[in-house]
Each structure stands twice: as structure tokens, then as C-alpha cells.
Symmetry: C2
């Protein structure tokens, strides 16, 4: 009965990448890599108070699959809140999920069959690119400019693809506010035209608005959803405002999509215990006050980081100061490998994300780095940008010597 | 640009079923349907105490993606606990997940490609059958007897399928302890032989042990995992002992599988905030005391329900008293539709699950009903079984009249 070891065929769309290749991070590294909120601004005390009382009020219902009153409290609060982005949705359009990330995954699994095509901005959020791959889809990056997705080009491409009998996308994934990683914000007229394209070409828009509450200048714009509620899946999350560790996000979706998502989630709310605590918190919490505190902090850190990058790397990079969100997106002028800069920077004690991770395929069309300004304080940002500049200069000198 | 409405092709493997067809439930219905623990035995006070202090001890780390000390506390506790089932696993084999349900989904997505085949016991847990379908796989039900999966038949089928050049399964899904729904427990020798089959036929076993802690008689048996750690994915959960609303389960998996699961979970723990609270709870909580309390209650409810079924439906059904778990699995002797009995029972004020949901395909080979004895008290159980018997008798009379 015992035969020789055969290779097991795991799911072909899941790619395990080697972790931690390249240099180890120096001790006390500055972390400008992942999109973490500022630790000191997370509502620890308010959550402690809400947690202490949550199960007293509701008994054990919050410990069942279906949850207690927190499920409805969070839903009601969220549906109200979303009106500021022009979203008028009903309970049947709403799902609480494990962060916006689960929303992306559910949308990918519900909308896509293996072999389907998804269009995204290029660059785009790496976890979303992975989710589309895991659903067996092919991802095509579209041109984006200083105002985000180039909707003109998208329309031309849809038209020419249809005319040529090519494969039209089933889904276009966009981050209209303070795009991750580029920081761009899509103007209202482009949002409206994008919504019209979704109607005309029988496709859905997946609108990822993880950062939408964190605007440091200018005015809120209507969501893409507000222009075509029957064709857009809108995602947001409490991760950037109350804390990612709660794993609590929101999906607003058309009925056909929402009911299929409920099949995958077994119609169960994510962690009813957490919803009970957050539901209780939201009854009394000054959420706008929290947004003001976060915005003041992140605006100052953004400006400080921009100033430091200008001072230390002004000749080497171009970048745009985003109206909100967490990130600066640096484009290096000289022909260098961003991956090599990131590797060297790691040795010098600063963690940044090389641009290639934000593009479909294995390399970025130009050397980019993403720097997160939300998580580190000014002292750390100064040290991090200085270390990055030092790594860049070393690399340039080495390249020139080898010419 | 505006074209006529086209049909959008959603994921073909996700089937939306009409909800609530048939009769509405009577007010104050007895719920013997889903596998809920007894509300009054959930550790509300202990969780309140743990929640109140959790963020004081750890600060805001538990609100970040990566979590605080609770992540390691739960891991250490769980790896220790699992030794009682013969599981000697390392941190690299361990993943905390959103309940055993996420473990099933991750295993399905990692191990299967569209068109693959999964073998299960017939009957088997409906959410697992759905998860395999959502992964694009075909599910085949194997014969089970009073001791669970017929491993002899499984071996013969593997041998004959291989000889005929047929499609061998990539995965066999089993619930060895107090199977859901049938209540059977797989003897140690069958576990060992099943593990050997996994090695010989290059397949994985998915061992779902959601109910393993809840044994009301007899002795713990070694897990299937203990016989072939490199070929078994073991699942368990806190849902049946601390509460499903925590959404906290455990996967123990071989490295190749665990690392692919981590790609899908983005290497992030499920709800770090909840892990922080549960980690704190487990430092001082008398878990064995909780198991004793639950076992005493469920043993009494099991015996009471068995006695009531015998008294009210003894001529009509056969069933086996399970050594643990949550369920009685009734097999009707006379040719009736279990779905019809369940529908009528609903009108009479008792919710039960018709057997067809536990079989691949649309109908059960015999009329079965699953009754859950853990959630309802004796008064409710008595009322529920009486209502079920009334519904059955009405149906039988109607059938005889129409002959």
C-alpha cells in the first residue's frame, strides 16, 4: 500500500513567497512600511469602559453566533455615518465584515470565476491584487495620474476591447480617496463617469474607502457608490480610526451581491463579542472628536515627512502631498532599483515598502517606494527619512563606481 | 454608451437558496435546530473581568493588526491543551482562526483546485459541504456505520478508483468525535488506518474536532492527527465551550499547508482584541471546571431528550445515543419525507434540521432529522419532542388517508 512520495497539487493561485529575504532589519528600526494608525491615539480607555460593561447589559447573547444588540447598534451607526459620503443604503445592503480586507475577498469570490479579468489602478493595494489572484482572476493595471484613475483611458480601453471582441473586465477596483499607495484623490466628475461605465459595460466597481474619514484638507466628495448604488460595492473599516485589532469593517453592496456574500459568511456577523463592545462604545463615543485628533496628528506628520523628504531626497525623488490617508509615494528620478533601496534602507534601520508590490507582475515600471507617515512620531520620521537618504546615496555611489 | 441590461455572471459555485420557505415558525418555538451551547453556561462574568483589564495591561498593542500578548497566550495554552488528544505541534503548525468554520474554508481553498474531489462521511456537516463546493470541488459521501466512517469501504474505493484510473480524492473530511450530525465516534483502529490511507494515497485528512472536549462517557481517543501529523489538518474551536460569539478556533496543520493558509489570512491573527481578552481569561480560568459543568448539563439533556424521543416516537424512529457532542440523529422507519416533517414541526412550534442538508445532492437516502439537545432546557426539550411527534403523526395519518 505504501507508494513513493508524490507531489501534492495545492491550490495553484496561492503563491507562497519567501519571507524576510535580503538583509535583516536593524534593531530599533523605524517602521515606515505598513499602514498602522498611531498607537497613542487608539481609544484604549473608551474601549476598556465599553468592554467592562458590554456583557452585563446584554447577558450572553453576544457570545452566540447571532450576537447581541451590538450587531444592530453598529449597523445603525454605520448606515447613518455613511450619509456623509452620499450613501443611502438599507440594512439589506449592509454586512459587517472582518475589516475592509474581508470585504475585498468576499467581492472577489462572489463576482469572479477563474479566468475572469479585474482592472485596477496601477499602482494598487497589494492585498487586493492577491485577493483577485486567489479567486483565479487576471489583474490588469490601468493608467493613473495625479488625480487617480484615468477614466478617459479606461473608457477607451473598454470600447476598444469590446470592439475587438476581447475580454471585458468583470470588476474595476478603485481607491478614490487618498489612494493606497499613490495618495491621489479621484475628482467627482471622474467618479460619476466611472459609475456610468459600470452601468454601460455590465461590470461592478469595488470602491475601497478605508481612509475616507481621514481627510486633512479640502472637502468630502461623493462616493462612487452614490452615483450607481446598483453597480458599486463600497468598503470601509474601523481599522484606521478605532484600531485594526478590532477587525471590523463594512460592506455596502447591491442585493444580488450582498446575498451571495451572506452565503459565504454563513449569514453570521464577525465576532459578535467585539460588535457588542464597539456597539456600546459608539452610543456615547465622540467619533468626530477622534477624527479631529487623528487628522491633526496625521496632517502634522504628513507635512513633517514631506519636509524631511524634500530636504534629504529633494533632488532624487518626486512626490505628491496627499489630501489624506497614511502614505507618501516616492518616485525616484534616477534609474535605481527601489527594491534594492528598500533592502539597503532596512540595513540602515528603516522599513519601507518597495513599489513592485503594488503592481501586477514582478516589477514596477519606475522605482517607487511607499512611506507611511501615520505610525511614527516626528523624531522617528526624521531618523527614518535620513536613513533612507543614506541608503539611496550609497546605492547611487556604488552604481556610479561600477559604471 | 447605454446598452441593455445583461446578466452578470456571478461565481458559479455560490448558490443562493431561498430562505424561510415553507411555514413560518410559531411564536415561542423551541429551537432544536442549530448547534448552540447552553446560554446560561457561557462564561459571561469571567469574560467581563478579563475584558475590563485586558487593554490596561497591554496598552494599545491589541488594537494593531499584529495584536498584543494575548496572541501568544492563546497559542501557548492551546498547544498545551491539545496534548490530551495526542497532538504534539509547534508554533509553526498553529493558526488561530475565526472558528473551526474558517479552518474548513482555508483548508478547502488551500488544498483544492476547481474540479478536485473531496470525500466525506455521509451524512456530514452542511457548512463543510458548502465550503468544498465554493472551492469548486465535487463532494462524494462515503458509507458510515454506527462507528463512523467505514474505513474498509474507503480503502476499497481508493484501490478500485486508482486501478480504474479514476479521480482520487485530494481530501477526506471527517468528524471523528461525536460526528455532526450522526453522533458516531470513530474507534482508534479506524483512525490509525485512515491516517495510513492518507499517506498511501497522497491525500490530506481534514479532521474537524469541534466537539472533542465535550465527552459524556468513555475515554478520549487519540486524534487522527496523532497518527499522521504530516497528512492531517486538525480543527478545533472555543465556540462550544466559551461561546461561538468569540469566533475563535484553532488549526493545526503541516507546514506546507499552514504557510499557504497564512497567505490567505495575511499572516494576521483573528481579532487581536478578542485574543487579548481570551488570552487573559485563560491565565486564570478553570477550563476543566467549565468542561465539567457543560458535560454534566449536556449529558443530562442528552439523556432526557433520548428518553422523550423513545417515549413519544419510539415506534417511528431509530437513533443512537452519542458519547458526546450536541446532537441526536433520528432515522424514521416509515417512508416519510423528513423535510415535510420538519416543515410541519415548524408550524407546531419546534425547529429541527431535515437530513437532506447533510448529504451531497438534494435528498437524503433515508428520512433523517437532526435534533440539538445542548441549547434547550428540559421543559423546552419535552415540549419540542412532543410537538415533533404530533407533526409526525399528522403527516402519517394524512399519508395513510391518501393511500
Amino acid at each position: 500500500m505504501c507508494v513513493k512520495e508524490k507531489e501534492y497539487e495545492y491550490n495553484r493561485d496561492i503563491v507562497v513567497r519567501p519571507v524576510g529575504r535580503g538583509a535583516a532589519a536593524a534593531k530599533d528600526s523605524v517602521n515606515l512600511s505598513f499602514g498602522f494608525p498611531a498607537t497613542e491615539l487608539l481609544p484604549v480607555e473608551a474601549l476598556n469602559r465599553a468592554a467592562a460593561g458590554a456583557l452585563n447589559a446584554e447577558g450572553a447573547d453576544a457570545l452566540h453566533y447571532t450576537g447581541g444588540q451590538g450587531v444592530a447598534q453598529v449597523q445603525e451607526w454605520k448606515l447613518n455615518r455613511l450619509r456623509k459620503f452620499g450613501i443611502e443604503a438599507e440594512a439589506e445592503n449592509y454586512l459587517a465584515v472582518y475589516g475592509a480586507g474581508q470585504g475585498i475577498e468576499l467581492a472577489a469570490r462572489v463576482l469572479l470565476n477563474p479566468g475572469d479579468t479585474v482592472w485596477t489602478e496601477a499602482p494598487s493595494f497589494f492585498n487586493a491584487l492577491d485577493a483577485f489572484r486567489h479567486a483565479g482572476a487576471e489583474t490588469v493595471g490601468l493608467r493613473a495620474d495625479a488625480y487617480g484613475l484615468d477614466v478617459d483611458q479606461a473608457e477607451q480601453l473598454l470600447r476598444s476591447t469590446e470592439a475587438a471582441g476581447g475580454v471585458l473586465p468583470k470588476l474595476i477596483y478603485v481607491i478614490p480617496n487618498f489612494q493606497n499607495p499613490s495618495g491621489t484623490t479621484l475628482p467627482a466628475d471622474r467618479r460619476q463617469r466611472l459609475a456610468a461605465l459600470a452601468r454601460a459595460y455590465n461590470l461592478f466597481i469595488l470602491e475601497d474607502d478605508a481612509y475616507g474619514e481621514l481627510r486633512y484638507e479640502g472637502h468630502d466628495l461623493p462616493s462612487v457608490y452614490s452615483y450607481a448604488p446598483e453597480r458599486v460595492i463600497y468598503l470601509t473599516t474601523f481599522s484606521k480610526t478605532l484600531g485594526p485589532g478590532l477587525r471590523l469593517g463594512t460592506v455596502i453592496a447591491p442585493l444580488n451581491v450582498a446575498e451571495r456574500m451572506r452565503v459565504l459568511t454563513l449569514n453570521s456577523p464577525p465576532t459578535p463579542f467585539t460588535l457588542e463592545i464597539v456597539g456600546r462604545l459608539l452610543q456615547t463615543y465622540d467619533y468626530d472628536g477622534q477624527i479631529s485628533r487623528l487628522s491633526a496628528c496625521y496632517r502634522a506628520r504628513r507635512d513633517f515627512m514631506a519636509e524631511r523628504v524634500e530636504a534629504e531626497l529633494g533632488d532624487a525623488v518626486t512626490f505628491q502631498v496627499p489630501e489624506g490617508g497614511f502614505f507618501l509615494w516616492l518616485s525616484f528620478k534616477e534609474g535605481v532599483s527601489a527594491t534594492e533601496i528598500a533592502r539597503l534602507a532596512r540595513e540602515h534601520g528603516v522599513l519601507v515598502v518597495p513599489g513592485e508590490q503594488f503592481f501586477t507582475g514582478n516589477h514596477a515600471p519606475a522605482p517607487f517606494l511607499r512611506l507611511c507617515f501615520s505610525y511614527s512620531n516626528e523624531q522617528e520620521i526624521a531618523r527614518g527619512v535620513h536613513a533612507l537618504a543614506a541608503a539611496y546615496k550609497l546605492l547611487i555611489q556604488a552604481q556610479r563606481r561600477s559604471l
